[in-house]
Every structure is written in structure tokens, then in C-alpha cells.
């Protein structure tokens, strides 16, 4: 298994380098001046020229790229032109919020989507199946921003059950940050009031973000289970009197979820990208809104760092997916 992981990791490195090079070239193709962005609105041409030289923006592009690579190798992503803070610090403060939301949405999608998919397959062409098919089509078709506003209107404005925005109430003191993951930090600090408040704040954005993925997982699981149910071993086990539910939830499901697991890997990237809208509507303090801000302000260092980061996380999740595939079907691991 270690060999498998090492080989996959070795393949990821050139991909990330390629990603960084393409992003670097694309960003430099846009005719914005990073020195002007750094200097601010009220800056004089002399101030801008000084910063251009100071940060090396007046050097040839490949020299700039090599300098950047050297910095990245030392985990230095430069300074944000917008916040004037180290990009590494900004991302370190924001990434946990995005991961918290993404993992929560992913968990919702998987732990609700897989059972619903199985239920739909077991009730093939009966009303639960029809209902879940309608739900999954709607889940994929509905725009996240629309769902978000509808959920806000219902649960925050009409019923008053859940908060409208943010990750913690404005009257609630922040817990000391140990991991950056608010829910975890509340637990570590023994702040049960803040823990409950954080969970309530997490509910609406997580459900909004999960909905599309949940619908996809329902569809893939349903199709996989339907396919497996037709296989000979199922007929054999049933004929042998094996307990039906045990057969379905262990053996049928295990043989059905290969495509679903692949889909979960792909979904992860989709959730991070989809999180941009959800984070904006719910004022979730993650990297989504930070990235949008960077694009609008031409903040090159942030755009590069976030692209590399998302690429790395995406690659890591895909290695994980490959590992899970190997665990589900050890033949894949042997084939490498």
C-alpha cells in the first residue's frame, strides 16, 4: 500500500507544477498591474514604480516564475496586494472554515445519499423510487444561491430556528483557536455554548452545499445497487436463505459503490468550487470569498496560492479515493 501511495504522490507533483505554471502564465496574461494594486487607489506613479521594482514585477516572466517557485518551496506565498498580509497567514486562518463546511456537506451527502440511493433501488419503480428520482433531479437542477435564500427565508426569517449568516453569533465570544476548525476548537475549549451555536450556524450552509452532491450520490448508488442486485451471487445468497438486509447493506452495497466513491472524489472539488457562492451568501469566513476578492482586485499572489492549494487538496482526496477503491476491491491495489 505504501508503494501505491508513493507512486500516486510522485505522479501528483508534476501535475501540480503544471497547474502552477499554467495559472502563472494565465494570470500574467491579464493586463493588470500588481504594483498598482499593492500601492492602493491614492498612490502616485512614483509609488507604483517603486513597488514594481521592490517586488520584482519588472523582471522577465520566467525569472519571476522561478523566484516564485523558490518561495513556494519554502512555503512562502508572498504578500496579498489587497490585505498586505502574508498569504500563508490569510489562508491558514480561512482554510479550516472552508474544510469544515466542505467535509460537513460531504458527510451529509454521503451518509444521507447512500442510504437513500439503496432505498430507491430496493423500491425500484415504486413510489419511494419515483419520489427520490424527482428529488435528485431537483437537487441537481436547483441553483445553490436560490436554495440558500429560500432556506434563509424559511428557517431564519419565518421560523427563526437557525441563524441567517456567519459562523458564530455576534454576541458569542470566540473560543481560543487551536486547530482553526471552530467546532473542534469549541470542543477543545469546553465551550459547549459556542459549540451549539457553531453547529446551528453550520446547518444551513452545509445543507445548501450538500444538496447537489447528495442528489448525485443518490443517483449513482441507486444505479450501482440496481446493477449488483442482478448478479448471480445475490440470487445464490438469497436462495441459501442469507438475511436480506445484511446481504444488501454489506455485500450488495460493497459491490455497488465503486462508481459512487469515484463520484465522491470528484464531488469534493465541486464542493470547494460551489462553496464560493454558499460562503458569500452565508458570510462564511472561508477561502471562497477570499478568492473572489482576489480575482476582483487582481491579487495575483492569492490567486496562485489558492489554485495550488485547491489543486493539492483535490489531488490528496483523489489519492484517498484510489485507496478506498483498493480497500473495496483489493485487486485494484495489486494492479497498481
Amino acid at each position: 500500500m505504501l508503494r501505491f501511495v508513493l507512486r500516486r504522490t510522485a505522479l501528483v507533483l508534476p501535475s501540480l507544477l503544471g497547474l502552477l505554471l499554467v495559472t502563472f502564465l494565465l494570470i500574467h496574461a491579464v493586463p493588470s498591474d500588481p504594483a498598482a494594486a499593492l500601492a492602493g487607489d491614492a498612490a502616485t506613479p512614483e509609488q507604483i514604480a517603486r513597488l514594481r521594482h521592490q517586488y520584482g514585477f519588472d523582471r522577465p516572466i520566467f525569472e519571476q516564475f522561478l523566484l516564485y517557485l523558490d518561495k513556494v518551496a519554502h512555503l512562502d506565498f508572498g504578500e496579498s496586494a489587497f490585505s498586505h498580509r502574508p498569504v500563508t497567514l490569510d489562508i491558514a486562518q480561512r482554510l479550516p472554515a472552508t474544510l469544515e463546511l466542505t467535509f460537513c456537506a460531504l458527510a451529509l451527502s454521503v451518509f444521507v445519499g447512500v442510504p437513500l440511493g439503496v432505498m430507491a433501488a430496493l423500491n425500484h419503480n415504486a413510489w419511494p423510487d419515483y419520489l427520490l428520482r424527482i428529488f435528485s433531479v431537483l437537487g441537481i437542477a436547483m441553483a445553490a444561491f436560490w436554495v440558500a435564500i429560500m432556506l434563509q427565508l424559511l428557517f431564519s426569517m419565518q421560523l427563526g430556528w437557525l441563524p441567517l449568516r456567519g459562523e458564530l453569533s455576534s454576541t458569542m465570544a470566540q473560543p481560543p483557536r487551536a486547530t482553526g476548525f471552530l467546532v473542534v476548537d469549541c470542543l477543545i475549549a469546553g465551550r459547549w455554548d459556542a459549540f451549539a451555536d457553531a453547529l446551528r450556524h453550520l446547518a444551513l450552509p452545509a445543507v445548501t452545499l450538500a444538496l447537489g452532491g447528495l442528489a448525485t450520490i443518490v443517483r449513482f448508488t441507486r444505479a450501482g445497487v440496481l446493477d449488483t442486485l442482478q448478479q448471480d451471487f445475490v440470487f445464490y445468497e438469497r436462495a441459501m436463505g442469507y438475511r436480506w438486509l445484511r446481504l444488501v447493506w454489506i455485500f450488495v452495497l460493497r459491490n455497488s459503490v465503486t462508481a459512487t466513491v469515484t463520484q465522491i472524489g470528484l464531488l469534493f472539488g465541486g464542493l470547494i468550487a460551489g462553496g464560493v457562492v454558499v460562503e458569500a451568501i452565508f458570510d462564511w469566513p472561508g477561502i471562497g470569498s477570499y478568492t473572489v476578492q482576489a480575482i476582483l482586485t487582481g491579487d495575483r499572489q492569492v490567486m496562485l496560492a489558492v489554485t495550488l492549494l485547491v489543486g493539492t487538496v483535490y489531488a490528496a482526496v483523489n489519492i484517498l479515493v484510489d485507496l478506498v477503491h483498493g480497500l473495496l476491491d483489493p485487486r485494484l491495489m495489486e494492479q497498481g
Binding site: 491614492a42 498612490a43 502616485t44 498586505h84 498580509r85 455576534s170 458570510d283 470569498s289
Partner: protein
Amino acid sequence: MSASGPLLHRRQLGGLAAGALAAGALPAKAADASTFVNGWALPANLDPHQIFDVPMQALMLNAYDTLYRYEGDPPKIVPWLAESHTVSDDGLQWEFKLRSGLKFHDGSPLTSEEVVYSFRRVLALALAPAGAFLKVLKPENVTAPDPLLVRFKLETSYAPFFAAIPSICIVNPRVIKANEKDGDWGKTWLASNGAGSGAYRIIPTGYRPLEYLDLEINDGHFLGWADNPKPVRKIAYRPTKESSTRVLALLNGSLDCTDNALPADQVDPINASKIAQVVKDTIMRTYIIRMNNTKPPFNNLNARLCFAHAFNYSGFINEVLNGYATRDPYPMPDNLWGIPTDAKGYDYDLKKAKEYMAKAIAEGAPMKRPIEIHVQTENEQSVQGAQLFQADLAQLGINLKVVGDTWPNLTSSAAKPDSTPDMWVHWVSTYFVDPENWVGQMYDSQFHGTWKASAYYKNDAVDALLRKARGLVKQEDRAPLYQEAIRKIMADSPDIWIYNSISLMGINKRVKGRRFCTVGQGSEVRWLTLDG
């Protein structure tokens, strides 16, 4: 690329929903009676010597003090940390006498030494707040002859120096120096912390850039609290990114105020609610369509006059903005001194535009070439103005293409006449209250290469007038020069000046005592009390 969008934007959807809910929404668990939950945008970071924009002005007014400060409407510059100042007859030497007994948030004394450090830090960092000072002030010429006296010796006489004094916050060198790294003037540290003496102090653990910020009251503020016995104890900045969320949060009581750029179509739903209302203030922020005077046909006066008569000013203000702006035909806010009130601006008159167009064509101006107008795509009003203009120019047979763009791209492009678009749309906000902030920096040719001077207008007589006005100290001597310069600029019609802004801010009815000033746009919290 033509700018277009969906039939129903997210904000409009939210607006409709907010309207439907205005009467029936359940109030959220309201903030306590001493916490003001502020929906204003946060500055990019917390260092007032690095950032200089409207969100920073709002933070400065609450967390920092300055030698003088703008207060009131219309804005008046009043003594703040300084109790008085003097200026030499030649306008080169300025002296500020400080109040005694001033203290920073950590209790350490604020004297002239700290003022000197603050100005030297601004000049050393040389970022946006330094813009007004770099050309006229050397660090060694800011001195402290005694603990309560600060002396500035300028290189040349520069009257806007005094107008820009309220833009420099006095910071505490003791806490900054303790956190310096590699001679960075504590830049990284102050970006996430506070080092001021203002009415409220920053709580560093309550800060995440652009997301939230908490401030607590400074009971020992030099001004005292006798004028407000029940002040806000805590300010919780909770900026909202989406207009729909912002309005909903105001309506359910989880925000005490929105920012002051509320879209006009949100006014009625908010005013219909029981919990909140919209306050309207005329501010000094002008909306302008720039013309690149170096590119044909804009290098032709008749062509420029044609365009100036083809914009439907009242239609834009009354129909698109629901009347929430005032027509301003001048190249600076009409509520600022130095305006020649006898000068007449241009009206929407397509017949006149046609006549000017014919004259321009006769003079060889290429009026039929496709013309690009660049807009800030993320800013709806910028797009709407261009689209309205496009429709009217089409009636004249002029092909105007609306090109989506971003602010950093546009300001970068404006560095050279060749790369500056044919036309582009932007606002000019109040960086300091002086004609220099508008006409001085927009139409003096020495500023070519900056986004403010992106019309690349050149008139030697105007240059001379603006430079002379800049070198005089007394407002009564400067005003006639600006009036004369503006008359000449308006006759040359280098740009299309459309309106002066009215800010719209949603505010909870429990908030009392608000005072408005265009600098900071009413964001000073020390005057507020909260009912309940």
C-alpha cells in the same frame, strides 16, 4: 464583450423576498443593548498607514485619533488631538499644538514624539495614505520641538496639506516597535492589531480579515463620554457580502446597520418594516464617464460635446437610481467650495448632440468608429450607466460597445494614454475634502499616468490656475482660482460628469444619535446609543 446578466439577479431575488417578509419576519435573537452590530465592510487590513479607503476611514474614526478631524455636514475640519495650529505666511511651516494628558489604549502617553513617528512611518511605507504628502514632506522635516508641539516643514507651499491631515492616524510606536520584523515598521503586525488611542479599541482575538472585527469601548478616551452617557460598549463588525443577506439580517435584527451602498430597490422593503429604516445622506462621491482625450474622436471638442449631450442624465438618476442621486454637472461635488455656480452644465439633448456630431465629422473626427466603454462588471450601476448611454448613442448612429472589466485592470490600463480605454466609468470618493481631490488631481497634466487623470486632458491655462491654487493657503484666495479653472474645464468638456451620490443605509430603529459627515460617511459610533 457585452455586459449582460440574468433576468433576476441574486440581489433582486433577495429584495423580493425581503419585501414579502418585511412585515412578517420573526426577529432574531437581538444583540444586547450595548453591542452595535455593524454591517459595514472592513478594510483590507487594520493598518491605517497602509490602506486608505472608505472602510478604513470608518475604522479610523472609531479606533484611532488624528490631529484634526472632519465633523458635521457639510464637513468642517475641527481640532482633535491638536488644540490649535499655525501656518507661516509662505505656507511652508505648519505647527500643531497638542492637548495635554493624551493617552494610547495601553495607557502610555501620546506626545509630539509619537506624532512624529506616525508621520515618518506613513512616509516610509509610502502606501496610499502617503499620497498627499510624499512630494512635499521629507521625514526629517517632521519634528517635535517640545512634547506638545509638532512642526512640519514643507518643500513647497501646498494648501491641501491641512485638508489631508485628518487622514493620518497617530499610532503607538511602543507596541509597534516591539513587533517589528526586518525593519518592516511593524507592517505585518499592525495589519491584524490595533495601536491607537481612539474611542474604541481593537480586540485582536476578535478579528478575521474581511470577515469580522470586535472593538470595545475606551473609557479613557481624551474626549470623555459626558456627551453620551449611554454609549455603545462594543462594536461588532459583521460585514455581509450579499445584498440579499444584508437586508434580511437587518430585517431580523441580527444587524444594526447595513453599509451605505444599499441598492435603491431595497429602500421600500426596509422602510415598510417595523424594525428598520433607510437613512439618506448626500455625500461627496461623483459618478463620471471618462473620455480619453488623446484618442480620436475624443481629441475633438465637438465630438466630446456631442457625447456630453447624449447622456440621459435625468433618466439615469430618476429611473435607474430611483432619484437617489443629485445631478452634478461639475467636475467635483456641487456641495464643495470652489464651484462656479454660474457655470452651466450640459443637458441631455440629442438634437444638439447631432449638431455637434456633424461639426465633428466635418472636422475629420471618426465618429462612426466602434467605441469601447469599459465598466466595472461587479458594479451594477457602472454597467447600467453604460447600457443607457449605448442605447442613446445608437440613435445617433454611434456604435458603443460595453466591455466588462475590473477596477485593478482599469487603473493599470490608465497608466498610459495608449492603454487607457476610449471611455470608462468610475466614481471619485472623498479622500480629503479639498478641490485638489477632484479637479486638482484629475485635470492638472502633471498627474497624467494616474487613474484620476485618465482623461489625459491638457490645458496650460488650467494647469497654471490649479498649480497656483495649490500653492496658496487661504481658502478665500484659492476658491476663485478653482472657479476659473472649472469654467475652462467645463468649456473643454473632457469628461461627462453625471451625479453626486446619495448614500443609502439601512439602520435599526433602536439606533439613536447618529451624526453624519461625508468623511467616513456617518460611521463614527461614539455618538450612538441603543434603545432597549
